[in-house]
């Protein structure tokens, strides 16, 4: 069948469109660096992570990334049958994705931990709680950092 120039061009055009669209849509809307995902999978394994129960208290705007106060709390009765086993905190853009792992038990009474962390850039911080029934719950918060930590020169 003889192909006219017009037909050829429209075919080539649709092929290009069909070829490019999947590449674009394969990219996730919010790029989560592979290191963060790997670090989370390292702790969680293949288990499903649900959103909720965990509360992450960090100032949304941080002037100095060298010391950022952070409090993680989990809604849990903390009884012998229903308690928080551990809390894991991760970041997205520091040189290393881990921030800290905190191991609790029923005698903790309250599932809440505070510390001070470093943030190298404006980024997302993720807190994941592992409950006694081995379910995982998470919360993610976006934090704007004006002065970065970690990578500056030593004086």
């Amino acid at each position: 069948m003889p192909t006219t120039r017009r037909q050829f061009l429209s075919l080539a055009g649709s092929a290009t469109v069909a070829g490019t669209i999947p590449i674009v849509t394969l990219r996730p809307l919010e790029a989560t660096p592979a290191m963060l995902t790997a670090a989370i999978r390292n702790v969680v394994g293949e288990a499903q992570i649900r959103t909720g129960k965990v509360k992450l208290d960090i100032p949304p705007l941080v002037e100095n990334g060298n010391t950022v106060p952070m409090t993680v709390s989990v809604a849990s009765p903390m009884t012998a049958n229903d308690y928080v086993k551990s809390i894991h905190v991760f970041n997205e853009k520091n040189p290393q994705p881990n921030i800290g792992n905190f191991h609790l038990n029923p005698s903790s009474g309250r599932a809440q931990v505070s510390t001070r962390i470093r943030l190298a850039d404006t980024q997302k911080v993720v807190a994941i709680a592992r409950l006694s029934d081995d379910t995982f719950w998470q919360v993610a918060t976006e934090i704007v950092v004006t002065l970065a930590a970690c990578t500056e020169e030593m004086n």
């Binding site: 040189p95 038990n105 970690c150």
Partner: protein, 105 residues
């Protein structure tokens, strides 16, 4: 090494008490360079444990993303009078301990 420990001196049996600890440590990340381009080797505290009359009640794994002079606050139930023992372990054989007593009525 200098450590600041805040444990209530007295508590009622069954009270949930807050324990706050602060220890002095540089927490060198291992990602910083000197002005002449040398990488500063990592020197951090990697582990913190709190024991209440010998039983572990709280443990933390720390990473370079924890700020210098690590501050940690957590909770526990006051069960009996006795002693809280705190231990920090880190790079280059770093080890530091502290303790605090509590009276439970």
């Amino acid at each position: 090494m200098a450590a600041l420990i805040n444990v209530p001196a007295k508590a009622k049996r069954g009270d949930i008490i807050e324990i706050r600890t602060l220890t002095s440590h540089i927490m060198e990340t291992g990602f910083r360079h000197t002005a002449d381009g040398q990488l500063v080797p990592r020197d951090i505290i990697t582990s913190f444990t709190c024991r209440y009359n010998g039983t572990e009640v709280f443990r933390a794994d720390l990473f370079p993303a924890i700020a210098a002079n690590p501050y940690l606050s957590f909770f526990t139930i006051a069960k009996e009078s006795g002693k809280f023992e705190f231990e920090w372990i880190g790079d280059n054989g770093y080890s530091s301990t502290a303790s605090a007593s509590i009276t439970v009525e």
